[in-house]
């Protein structure tokens, strides 16, 4: 029998590509077909009609929207993201440094939250229906139901106001020493970890419990395997697929989370850049940031789907 896996994965990648096209269409037209003429906005009220007309031609504004869309996509592929309206700096320059900062934050959060969430999720499933499981479940429901900024507010209250361990709302660049670095990143990472882990714990717990309900695990129980052995040796290998799917899906929560966390902690990342761009209506900047976010999100959910396909032995 031939494997269906390659064709399934190819199909999934194709869907991702189609989705990306539709999304870029939406991003472009949502931000381009706005009331107000870009050239007039750029040159200000006092500009002569000739100057405005000249700029319109130079920016291809007289051409049909569809053609401008093609130019824009072509530019994206060549790394030309356009020029910011607000300060006339190429968007690529603005974005590159900020993107690195955000990736650093996301990477740190992943490093902290994945081991934490997997441990909590698996142990909660192992000791199902005990007090420990109850507490974990209720805590995760609580965290999931609360907006990120409330988590951030609570984290500041606990760690900065009452315990006085960390600075409150300032991101200091004093990261020469290890302790300085730790202090600067601690608060944003703690807040993001809470949100990401809560999702991951719930999904991991559900995946392990589902495997525990299968007959072969019951068999292991009957032959006298201990509870940890039953979970770690027998159930876990089969739950790995759904768990890694859960990890990828939960990490996509980061994309929403960083928007709030970077704003509240004044962290110089790409989400903060985008929020600022929205308040100044800096369209090229908004378009680029939106595309970066959608791209990251698509990568994560496509990975989640592919992992799910790969881990299903029935498809091999």
């Amino acid at each position: 029998m031939t494997s269906r896996v390659p064709s399934l994965i190819l199909g999934r990648l194709l869907i991702a590509l189609v989705t990306l096209t539709i999304v870029s269409f939406a991003v472009f037209f949502a931000t381009t077909l706005l009331p107000g003429d870009t050239a007039t906005i750029l040159l200000g009220q006092a500009a002569t009609p000739e100057a405005v007309a000249g700029l319109r031609t130079a920016m291809h504004l007289d051409e049909p929207a569809l053609l401008r869309f093609v130019y824009w996509i072509g530019g994206l592929f060549q790394g030309d993201l356009g020029t910011s309206y607000a300060n006339h700096v190429p968007v690529a320059t603005l974005v590159s440094g900020r993107l690195a900062n955000t990736l650093k934050l996301a990477g740190l959060t992943t490093l902290v939250s994945v081991p934490l969430a997997l441990t909590l999720g698996i142990t909660a499933a192992m000791w199902r229906r005990t007090l420990y499981d109850r507490i974990v479940t209720i805590a995760t429901i609580g965290v999931i139901s609360v907006p990120e900024f409330v988590l951030a507010t609570l984290a500041v209250l606990v760690f900065a106001v009452y315990l006085k361990w960390l600075p409150a709302l300032s991101f200091t660049y004093n990261i020469d020493s290890f302790s300085g670095l730790l202090r600067a990143y601690a608060m944003p990472v703690i807040t993001l970890t809470f949100g990401v882990s809560a999702q991951m714990i719930r999904m991991t717990r559900a995946a392990v419990i589902e495997t525990l309900n299968t007959p072969y695990v019951e068999m292991a129980l009957l032959k006298g395997a201990s509870r940890p052995r039953m979970v770690l040796r027998h159930a876990l290998p089969n739950a790995l697929g759904p768990i890694s799917n859960a990890v990828a899906l939960s990490l996509s929560y980061l994309l929403g989370g960083v928007i709030i966390v970077e704003t509240i902690f004044n962290y110089p990342g790409i989400a903060k850049l985008m929020v600022d761009a929205v308040s100044t209506r800096d369209l090229p900047l908004i378009q680029s940031c939106a595309m970066i976010f959608c791209f990251g999100y698509l990568i994560l959910i496509t990975t989640a789907d592919i992992v799910a396909i790969l881990s299903n032995p029935r498809l091999r």
């Binding site: 609580g142 900024f149 500041v156 929403g256 929020v275 929205v278 959608c294 999100y297």
Partner: protein, 290 residues
Amino acid sequence: MKTHSSTEPRASTGSLTAWSGYRINLVGLAAFSVVLFWALVALFAPYITPHSVGEMIDLDYFGPMRPGLWLGSDYLGRDMLSRIIYGARYTVGISLAAVSIACFTGVVLGMTSAVLRGPVDMVVSRILDAMNSIPSKLFGLMVVAAVGSSIPVLILTLSVIYVPGAYRFSRALAINIDTMDFIMVARIRGERLPYLIASEILPNIIGPVLADLGLRFVFIVLLLSGLSFLGLGVQPPYADWGALVRENIGGLPFAAPAVIVPSLAIATLTISVNLLIDNLPQKIRDRSAS
């Protein structure tokens, strides 16, 4: 979120055990009372505010809780209790309007796709899936950047964002029902689409759909508060709970009630809606139980 007895899943046998599935437990009841409390606060806001929302009555800003100013004062010395009560109106009202539009559109489209199948189903599913792959907060940001923020725009944006989810959920449910014999009978009878979705499919999926509506309400409250917190949601002079946290974030270093109380208000509302749905009677939550 009204549940008429006529709209509950059919085919309950009428025996003595038929109602046992509808018993609600203590946690569910507690959660329901909190939700009801906030609904009443939102409804009767103008009659229960002790002070005018915009009036500065405290000489001090970020004042502590004390008699007369039960929740302290905000960054301009305004009464926090009154502002929270009015904030409930915006948070609950906007979210309720948005969730109604989103679920109505999503469920109608979902049932239609499930009944029609074929190209209609494929096109609608693909487009809504693509919409689903734009992160919700980002979508909100883009719309606000494009058309500015006003309450009608907010309601419409929030509902557009959550249509795909409601669509997916109701389509999956409706497809299961669509394969049943009584649908086939109705089709052979020559019934048309509106009758099929309204009278044959909807009554059989209404329970899970209402539970899903509750979950989506929570998502919308979270997103609305998030946008308002960023300063892109409800605009001054109006303020929902997210905007109240934003306004008073300066009070955070001194743990002012002005910043803690609206955060708690959001948390109590969303957590209790979630708990309420988790503890709903099995018969309403489970499509297979009917």
